[in-house]
Point group: C2
């Protein structure tokens, strides 16, 4: 029996025992709110604190949430038994049923089932992927890596121009061969296609990975497994803008939403590879600066206050320069220097010189 299923059964048995002993059924749930999130300087991640709240079935304000949490647990147990996976949306429809003899639905909105599932994650200490609920799927990967997944052997070096499509759930993938010195994760699929066409991963013996925008949970776990199990440094290639910086920040340090998952989601080994303020001078990108808006300025000021950036000279320097330039710049601005400038000059040079922020 899987450990996740064991945890669900344990939860159920404990509640049943309380009911049989005529005690009030109660679940202790760690509080998932800013008030209970703290930055752990040692592990360099956002973590959940020790504050817990009681969810009491006989408390009128708790009863519905109590029921939702158990219903989500029941569906998850069913999925684990059948060896099937559901999306968050599926989960919503699967728990959305009417309580007999009433007109009340267990959930009316996906926010409720999502929230119940997050509660279940903190209660059981298993991620929703381990509870067989998948996040959205997106992204591609290429490199000298062979994995086994669902009985298929997949060679990331032999995937044509498309690459392997990264699944939403990478927990059961087995690494058969990993021949790479590092991983580059980029926020833009178009940049991935550029590096792939230039055979960057082949020439530089690395792995290239991308989604479109923020990294999915599948990608974050895949990066983490490559970092932990194969000790590969992870380079993050993003724009010189608050959003690019934020993508890096979430990858490396975690986010408030997922503070309870930090252990399996954060990437202490992540390094920011670009674009940085100095590149704009060094690589002649001045004329491709894009004026920032008020919302960007506000975002930079928030980033400046993040605990992990607050005393970080390198990052404070980037924020200051962006505010001074009053401008941001995109990775693709490098194309103005030639379509393969990024793969032939920019990246090899920066990696060789160790010009990254971490």
């Amino acid at each position: 029996m899987s450990k996740a299923k064991q945890a669900l059964e344990k939860l159920g048995k404990e509640l049943a025992a309380k009911i049989l002993a005529k005690q009030v059924p109660v679940i202790d749930i760690p509080i998932r709110a800013l008030s209970n999130v703290q930055y752990n300087k040692k592990t360099e991640t956002l973590e959940l604190g020790n504050k817990k709240s009681e969810r009491n079935f006989f408390h009128v304000a708790h009863a519905k949430k109590f029921l939702q949490t158990l219903e989500v647990a029941a569906v998850s147990k069913e999925l684990l038994e059948e060896g099937k996976h559901a999306s968050l949306r599926d989960m919503f429809y699967m728990v959305k049923r009417t309580i007999p003899n009433t007109k009340i639905n267990i959930v009316d909105d996906q926010i409720e089932s999502d929230s119940a599932l997050e509660d279940l994650e903190v209660v059981t200490n298993f991620s929703r992927e381990q509870l067989n609920i998948n996040a959205n799927k997106m992204g591609s990967v290429a490199g000298h890596v062979i994995v086994e997944d669902k009985g298929d052997e997949i060679n990331w070096a032999k995937m044509g121009s498309g690459g392997w499509s990264i699944p939403s759930n990478v927990e059961e993938i087995i690494f058969k061969k990993v021949n790479a010195k590092y991983v580059i994760y980029m926020e833009k699929a178009a940049v991935w296609e550029r590096l792939h066409e230039d055979k960057f991963w082949e020439k530089n013996n690395c792995i290239i990975m991308s989604s479109q925008g923020q990294a999915t949970r599948g990608i974050r776990r895949l990066l983490q497994r490559l970092s932990n199990e194969h000790h590969l440094p992870i380079y993050v290639l993003a724009d010189f803008d608050p959003w690019g910086f934020y993508i890096y920040s979430v990858l490396k340090y975690g986010s408030i939403n997922l503070a309870h998952m930090s252990e399996s989601m954060t990437l202490a080994s992540a390094r920011f590879l670009g674009i940085v303020a100095e590149d704009i001078e060094n690589y002649g990108l001045k004329k491709h600066l894009i004026t920032i808006k008020d919302v960007d300025v506000k975002r930079i000021k928030q980033l400046q206050e993040y605990e992990w950036f607050k005393n970080h000279k390198g990052w404070q320097n980037q924020f200051k320069k962006m505010l001074a330039f009053k401008a941001k710049a995109e990775i693709q601005a490098l194309s103005s220097r030639g379509i393969s400038f990024i793969s032939e000059k920019y990246l090899p040079e920066k990696i060789k010189k160790g010009e990254y922020l971490d």
Copy 2:
């Protein structure tokens, strides 16, 4: 030399000849606007009409656009010569240079280079993919198909849980083996993962393909190639909502934006597989209806007036019922009947009975 490159050289030589003969350099460009778009009942696609406009280098209102078109053509020729591909964003940065001895940039905004590229498509009759400019990449595919791409042989049946990641440009893919009776294209990556986990394509001998939302150009071309070259019917699995219907409409009949590309983009063989109004009764989805908003109502009324839907009883019936229900429904509502209800009952039953709209 590639035919696309020949077309670009022809354009350049004609203009050079005019200049050498002391004539005014002029390009004739078919007008890409609603006034010049018509629905061809025979081919069942939106097409560009015959109206053209002259772009004159010596006309003060034309000079800049003229220059932009030629600059984009020059970059495209370079890409074709080097055998490399650029994204739309790359193209923007590559043509964004200052005209010597002035302070004027050839382009200041990506809208300008995108528009110049569309002009180049209609002038040369080559798609931007054939001109080595790629759209965004997204989506996955699985099935009993073997393709050759960039020297790699890729078996879509052996891709683990991820599937093959569909490239933005599928023009050069070679089909080595296609063993399938039909293709299902779905708008949601999560539904794709559901069907993939249930081995739907294996059990039903078909191909499953998805993006997230609107189909990318890479996917549309891949579907069209499977339809034209391998005579496979294409089933579109989308929500019972105006957006789902619109996705189908664009796939099958084309769109105003891409009217000049209809020949290589539309899918006369496309069939809408669901969700439809009748399913809501037949498959017990009533309690999962979602109330529509004013914007949905407006959208339905627009769809009702589309030339290809106007006299189509089946579609008019769907629009009327959605307005009567005042509600829409999602594919994933089927999960309320069981996580694999969609792959074990809904789809096989509907395909067997021929219950699709076309």
